[in-house]
């Protein structure tokens, strides 16, 4: 069978399966299980209505359970076992975690992740807010916003390739194709630098890529929030004698505080999971390792499922509280 036909068939079976599931399960509920007839008709209707939401939720819950909840449990199990040569697993308790904690590369990844965590959400949100405010009232503001939003449409790997060219370095006697080196030489730098190999600073060069991407996201959300501020409160502040800075920081920003928090925490979660950029640009060399790339190294390169799973658990533990906080804030914003 041709693949196209196979695809169509899959779609047809999938869709009709879904429709069939909802139709038949509801029919079963109403006609067989709790029919609205006989002496208990009223009670049956109530019971059927209590069960119905679960019928609708069941497929989603099952899929989420299979692809989210089960992997968490399995990862936890893997992180507490080791593979025995020749097949089978052995329970090792927290050995994988202690082994990981003894590795300097893990702590390098933790430290770098903390830097990312502080710098990227702060800078993205700050730039996003700045751009949103500055482009609000000017004629070409929307054009500027489109440009700044564009990186959002580029994949992290694509962005990494672009920025690798920015940081590119050629031997001194050749022309520099990396714009950073070109500028560096133009402004009197002695010889071209291999930027991505300069420890400590190279992490920041990687962060710039993510900031470049996430600023567009922050800008769009914050721009909408700024527009939602009642115009009269700003006019009242003008009459009260506030200058533009006071209006921005004391009237506007407090009114969109929850949105800023949501943007901040959303970017934070992205940052904790950052993998592609590091993978594509330095692969964690020259002290740029981060947790997700460390996990990938252990799991798929080192084939060490125990420590790899342990690092995955660490990432999950770091993300979860921020995620909960984020959802709470988003709910608060909706009120």
């Amino acid at each position: 069978m041709s693949p196209a036909l196979q695809g169509l068939l899959t779609i047809a079976i999938g869709v009709s399966g879904c429709v069939g599931y909802f139709y038949l399960s509801n029919q079963f509920l109403d006609k067989v299980l709790f029919p609205p007839r006989g002496p208990n008709a009223g009670r049956n209707i109530n019971r059927a209505n209590m069960i119905r939401p679960w019928l609708f939720l069941f497929p989603a819950l099952a899929a989420l359970g299979l692809y989210l909840a089960y992997p968490v449990v399995e990862t936890l199990r893997l992180s507490l076992t080791e593979r025995v040569p020749g097949g089978g697993y052995r329970w090792v308790g927290l050995d994988n975690y202690t082994q990981m904690a003894a590795e300097p590369k893990f702590w390098e990844a933790m430290r770098n992740n903390m830097f990312w965590l502080i710098v990227v959400p702060a800078m993205s949100t700050a730039f996003g807010l700045l751009v949103a405010q500055l482009t609000d009232r000017i004629r070409w503001g929307n054009f500027a916003k489109s440009l700044i939003f564009m990186p959002m449409a580029i994949s992290f790997v694509g962005a990494s390739v672009i920025w690798k060219l920015v940081y590119d370095s050629r031997p001194a006697e050749q022309d520099q194709i990396g714009i950073l080196n070109a500028l560096y030489i133009f402004f009197g730098g002695a010889e071209p630098q291999t930027w991505l190999t300069v420890p400590f600073w190279n992490s920041f060069f990687l962060m710039i890529v993510l900031i470049w991407i996430q600023t567009g996201f922050a800008m769009v959300i914050l721009s909408a929030a700024l527009r939602g501020i009642p115009e009269e409160t700003i006019e009242a502040a003008i009459l009260d004698g506030a200058n533009p800075f006071q209006i921005f920081f004391r009237i506007k920003v407090p009114q969109i505080k929850t949105t800023i928090l949501v943007v901040w925490t959303t970017i934070t979660i992205t940052v904790l999971k950052v993998f592609d950029i590091v993978f594509a640009m330095t692969n964690g060399q020259w002290e740029t390792q981060v947790l997700a790339n460390y996990m990938y190294d252990k799991l798929f390169r080192g084939d060490d499922w125990g420590v790899g799973s342990a690092s995955a658990m660490v990432i999950m533990l770091l993300v979860t509280p921020i995620l909960i906080w984020n959802v709470r804030n988003a709910r608060k914003e909706m009120e």
Binding site: T233, E235, I238, D240, G241, Q255
Partner: protein, 362 residues
């Protein structure tokens, strides 16, 4: 002394005139009300005084100083918005203190000013609440309090009662009137489309229409001697009846032969050369009374609205597109379908030629 003076003020958006030739002299302690139909520019004029809209032409003076290009905060004005415009993230106290803190007033003085305003407006129990925990009326009081603490020369109110329900509107209106009495030296400018607010609050009313001032005067001046048909019909409810006719007798009193048949008499004097002039007579519904013998307007009562204290009679009339309305005291339920002949005291019969009062011309 003239507190606020507008000279030939105009507002244009591009090539569109919104307001032009606005001349106005407002004295200290007056409560001026701007009224007019929607879109007449009354709010725009207020916002120009506030400094939120640029003045396209003419001058605005406050206490003799030209204010056209002075920033809003330094004009000595405070404004109360229709939507209250409270800062939602600040408590009532912080809302009222904001302007003073921006002005770097010492904390003790700020607290004293806020406490004083809160006492006047009975907001003391709510000082530490956020605006969202207040009712509409309380929010509007906070907005007024925010104006009071700044101790401005001129208060500007932009339809402050429009967002309140009917009962609260009356209560707040009386509160504003009391507030004005308590502060006899402060000047207030008040924009509304509600003529009851205008009539009850104003020391003088400015009626805005057709991009300019239609008439300025005390509420009763506007009611008793409107300068033109627009003001005549805008002030008073239901609107003044206009009946077309021709002047058929001049002198101390004027006789008008109405197109619908009868002859009305007005106590407005006319000259002999005005004989035969096409005019509209204007009679307020409440000035009509039934007069079988010598009434000048006869019609069938087409519809009745009995309001208890008064009864509104709507006349079906062949010639007048607008129809004639009369307001009789008390309950008159049985008149529907009957012919009624109406008359009015000559002193209450207004005369307009080309829309302008004849009284004003002579």
């Amino acid at each position: 002394m003239s507190e606020l003076k507008l000279t030939d003020v105009a507002k244009t958006y591009g090539s569109i005139d919104v307001l032009k030739h606005i001349d106005l002299d407002i004295d200290t302690g007056e409560l001026i009300v701007f009224v007019g139909p929607s879109g007449c520019g009354k709010s725009t004029l207020l916002r120009m005084i506030a400094g939120l809209e640029k003045i396209s032409g003419g001058t605005l003076e406050i206490e003799g100083q030209v204010m056209n290009d002075v920033p809003p905060a330094q004009r000595g004005i405070a404004m109360v918005f229709q939507s209250y415009a409270l800062y939602p993230h600040m408590t009532v106290r912080e809302n009222m203190a904001f302007a003073l803190k921006i002005a770097k007033m010492p904390t003790a003085e700020v607290d004293a000013a806020v406490e004083r305003a809160a006492r006047i407006l009975q907001l003391e129990p709510f000082l530490d609440r956020l605006p969202k925990a207040l009712s509409g009326g309380q929010r509007q009081r906070v907005a007024i309090g925010r104006a009071i603490v700044r101790d401005p020369k001129v208060y500007l109110f932009d339809e402050p009662l429009s967002n309140l329900d009917a009962a609260l509107r009356v209560a707040t209106r009386i509160e504003i009137a009391r507030l004005k009495e308590a502060m006899p030296d402060s000047t207030m400018i008040y924009v509304t489309h509600d003529q009851v607010e205008a009539m009850t609050l104003a020391s003088r009313i400015v009626v805005l229409a057709n991009k300019g001032v239609a008439q300025v005067g005390t509420p009763l001046e506007l009611y008793e001697t409107p300068d033109n048909e627009f003001v005549a019909q805008f002030i008073g409810s239901p609107a003044m009846n206009l009946l077309p006719g021709v002047i058929s007798g001049t002198g101390e009193q004027t006789s008008i032969k109405l197109d619908s048949g009868g002859t009305a008499v007005s106590s407005i004097a006319t000259d002999p050369d005005q004989m035969g002039l096409k005019v509209n007579i204007g009679v307020r519904p409440e000035d009509f009374f039934a007069d079988e013998a010598s009434g000048f307007f006869e019609g069938d009562v087409d519809f009745i609205e009995a309001l208890g204290e008064v009864t509104l009679l709507y006349f079906a009339s062949a010639s007048d597109a607008d129809g004639v309305v009369a307001k009789f005291p008390g309950i008159e339920k049985n008149l529907r379908g009957h012919k009624v002949k109406l008359n009015a005291d000559p002193a209450k019969v207004h005369l307009f030629h080309n829309g302008v009062s004849i009284r004003k011309r002579s």
